[in-house]
Amino acid sequence: MNDALFSQLTTLGSSVILLYGFTLLWRKSLHAYTVAFQWQSVMLTGLFLIIGYFGHDVELYLVAGFLFILKVLILPRYLGKLEQRFPGERESRPYVNVATSLVVAGLLVLLAYAITRPLVLVSDLPTRGGLPLAVGLIFVGLFVIITRKKALTQIVGFLVMENGIALLAVLGTYGIPLIIELGVFLDVLMGFLVMQVFVYHIHDTFESIDVDQLNELRH
């Protein structure tokens, strides 16, 4: 009974997290992306707490705390700064239009289901139902990075991918060892900082944060 609830909750949570990933595909304004990412991170934190509670793992509360601070408080703030810095920057015409993007993303999730079959079979954790969704989220993040033109969007896509990996980890293993988790957070933070520095550089040198004009270097 307990396990059933647990697994339903986690699956539900993961699906919601995945859905937030989808919003990146049909919204166009950068602000929406920030919000979506923020809420996704909130959900992720919640999921950590749930798993911590049902899985009797105190460590996860701690991790959830870090995650909240990093991905719900710090990163969205910086993202907000960025988007206010460049008003009027919208994903007006991505390489792949919204409709197609959604279809492709759907297919990617299906693919994820197909590919992660063995994982689900192997694991006996109640959370295993969410694994395909996690991998799906990774794919969607990747897809966003590939098809969206604004540097900012790509950053968000990268962060979403990170969330997907975190989700995978927590669902599959109730979280990787704490110290590693911390190291990962640190890396994510630093990586993000570097990226946003570059967004400024790009904007200063190219008068826009469109990545597709970075095509000087070829052959």
């Binding site: 990747l142 897809f143 990545v211 070829r218 052959h219």
Partner: protein
């Protein structure tokens, strides 16, 4: 004894290179550099001679070096020793000649330092190729040889075309190395690659593997030897290189291709099916014929000689091919005859082609041009060079009693032995080979009448030729040594043939043919098949050359001689423009073989403005693109370029595209991992 000579050889070359590295300039420097090479080559010669005579191989192994594949293993058996001697024969005169020839570089036209260092290292590498006794050692020395010779080719890098020539050479030689690497590694098949092991294990390989190895080796060594269609680098590289280097490369280095082929096909693989021999024979015929035919159309003296190298390598390969054919059907004596013919022609070509290149070098040195159309009348201005060049020309045209004839005779005889072959389909190819070989030597004679006649005889065709000067002593000495070698090798086949018999004895189960070819002043083909004695012929000619004038004097024939104008059909005052040019000399043959040459002509007549009945100027130009450039290399290069143009699209500059690659490969591999 041998070890001493070996060390002396190494040390001398090292010394030469070192002096050059310190910047051997000025007469002293140049002579020291040359001295290193001369002493080294001399020691090498002696070293080889000792091994041949004693028949005792010299071995030396340094396991500390190249430990990953059996260490550095050196072994000099008679076969290697013979080629070491060939190197010496070519190197000593070339080095002496070079001492004078390189004076021209003192003005900084080329780096004397690089030239000197590479020259000595080149000789060292070549010598060590003949000593290598395991795969890695061999490849190391082989590539060392190629690399050093490459630098020698691009010595005059400031001249235009030199670097292009260098590129061609690098490309062909590296392709060759790749093929050899494949061949040898297949031969090793996982082992350490000591030649002794290969010899014993070669029998256990599957026939397919053996055939593959043979073909790879044939092409690999062929690209160095310059057989058609891998010859394209010779006519490019030889003219570019300094003449004494061309002499070495053409006279000696390409012979190591022959060495390699013998080593692998006969020694390591121990012979094979008869089609191996037929293939070698076919390539030889093709090379000989195409080589001489393109030589005929060349008016660049050194390119002409380069094409003749192709021709002569062809003749050598005909000998080897015949040998392999007979070997495959166990006619050992005949086989030995074929190989002997090949080896004999090898050393002969080393001498006369070296001589001719040195001669061409002197002409270039004197007139500053390689174009025969701007020469002429040199026989009066540089008599010595002319004489030596004449000797070389006669020798390469296989005229008795010089050395070219002796070896071609042996090759002929081995081919005539073809009637003893059991397999008719092979036997019937032999007459064709005979015919083509004959045609080749006839054309060669024609070509050298042109080469010598147009460049040395008659009236100078240019100002440079008008006041050309004889080249310095060192260069003349260099040529003289080789000229003497040509005569000596021509007069003494009775001495050379048994030596070669000894060299070949035991390779791939060949018998010791020394008893078969007896030691009177003549050469026998086996079983008293045929017999000649160039020595007697030479004697006869000599006697007659003395006797005829004596008799004439005795008969009181009129001995008056008046020098007058050439009779010009009543026209007074003959100018060079009336002379027959090299082009016109070759015209009949060009028409005969027009099918092959496919010359492109363009004729532009510039009329006088007033009336078109008055012609201002007539410009006629005709070009010949060699067959294989046309059908093989140009398309190949175009193909590579096309592919690369496509491949470069990958790096299109779009980050999204790049990320796409990652995603696609990820998904592909995931699918593969999940379901395949």
């Amino acid at each position: 004894m041998t070890i001493v000579l070996f060390l002396v050889m190494i040390a001398a070359y090292g010394f030469g290179a070192f002096v050059a590295l310190l910047g051997g300039r000025g007469p002293i420097g140049r002579w020291l550099v040359a001295a290193g090479a001369v002493i080294g080559a001399g020691a090498g010669c002696a070293f080889g001679a000792v091994v041949i005579i004693s028949g005792q191989p010299f071995t030396l192994s340094i396991p500390e070096l190249l430990p990953i594949a059996g260490g550095l293993a050196l072994r000099l058996d008679p076969l290697g020793a013979f080629f070491l001697v060939v190197i010496g024969v070519g190197a000593i005169p070339a080095a002496i000649y070079g001492a004078g020839y390189t004076k021209a570089y003192e003005n900084g036209r080329a780096s004397l330092r690089l030239l000197g260092v590479m020259f000595n290292l080149f000789l060292l590498a070549m010598s060590l190729v003949t000593l290598a006794d395991n795969v890695l050692t061999f490849l190391l020395m082989w590539e060392g040889m190629s690399l050093t010779s490459y630098f020698l080719v691009i010595t005059e890098s400031s001249e235009d075309g030199t670097l292009r020539a260098g590129n061609w050479y690098a490309a062909m030689t590296h392709a060759g190395l790749a093929l050899l690497l494949a061949a040898f590694v297949l031969l090793m098949n996982g082992g350490a690659g000591a030649f002794a092991d290969l010899r014993s294990s070669a029998g256990t390989l599957s026939p397919e593997a053996r055939n593959l190895i043979f073909v790879l080796a044939l092409l690999g060594f062929g690209s160095k030897a310059g057989i058609v269609p891998l010859h394209v680098w010779l006519p490019r590289a030889h003219p570019a290189a300094p003449s004494h280097v061309s002499a070495l490369m053409s006279g000696v280095m390409i012979k190591l291709g022959v060495y390699g082929l013998l080593r692998v096909a006969l020694d390591l693989l121990g012979g094979g099916p008869s089609w191996w021999g037929a293939l070698v024979l076919g390539l030889g015929v093709a090379s000989a014929l195409l080589g001489v035919l393109y030589a005929l159309m060349e008016h660049d003296l050194k390119r002409l000689l380069a094409y003749h190298s192709v021709e002569n390598i062809g003749i050598i390969f005909i000998g080897l091919g015949a040998g392999l054919i007979f070997h495959s059907s166990h006619l050992m004596t005949l086989a030995a005859l074929g190989f002997i013919g090949g080896l004999y022609h090898t050393i002969n070509h080393a001498s006369f082609k070296g001589l001719l290149f040195l001669g061409a070098g002197s002409v270039l040195h004197a007139t500053g041009t390689r174009n025969m159309e701007e020469m002429g009348g040199l026989i009066k201005r540089m008599p010595w060079t002319a004489l030596f060049f004449l000797v070389g020309s006669a020798a390469i045209s296989a005229l008795p009693p010089l050395n070219g004839f002796a070896s071609e005779w042996l090759v002929f005889q081995s081919l005539l032995g073809g009637l003893n072959l059991p397999a008719p389909e092979i036997a019937l190819t032999i007459p064709l080979a005979v015919g083509m070989l004959a045609l080749t030597s006839g054309l060669a004679a024609a070509c050298f009448v042109k080469a010598f006649g147009i460049s040395f005889l008659a009236i100078p065709r240019s100002h440079e030729a008008e006041n050309a000067h004889e080249s310095p002593l060192s260069m003349r000495v260099g040529m003289m040594i080789l000229a003497l070698a040509c005569v000596a090798l021509g007069l003494a086949p009775f001495a050379v043939v048994p030596v070669l018999g000894g060299v070949l004895a035991g390779l791939g189960g060949l018998p010791d043919t020394r008893p078969v070819f007896t030691l009177d002043l003549s050469v026998h083909a086996p079983a008293g098949f045929a017999q000649i004695s160039p020595t007697w012929i030479a004697l006869g000619l000599l006697i007659l050359l003395v006797l005829v004038p004596l008799v004439m004097r005795f008969m009181r024939v009129n001995r008056k001689l008046r020098v007058g104008d050439t009779w010009g059909c009543g026209r007074i005052g003959q100018t060079p423009r009336m002379e027959y040019t090299a082009t016109s000399f070759a015209e009949p043959l060009r028409r005969v073989f027009a099918e092959l040459y496919r010359p492109t002509k363009e004729l532009s007549i510039d009329f006088h403005p007033e009336s078109k009945y008055f012609v201002k100027s007539i410009k006629y130009s005709s070009r010949i693109t060699p067959l294989f450039d046309r059908v093989l290399y140009d398309p190949l290069l175009r193909l590579v370029q096309r592919i690369s143009r496509q491949v470069r699209r990958i790096q299109a500059g779009s980050l999204h595209l790049y990320l796409m690659y990652v995603a696609v490969i990820l998904i592909l591999l995931l699918i593969a991992a999940r379901w395949f």
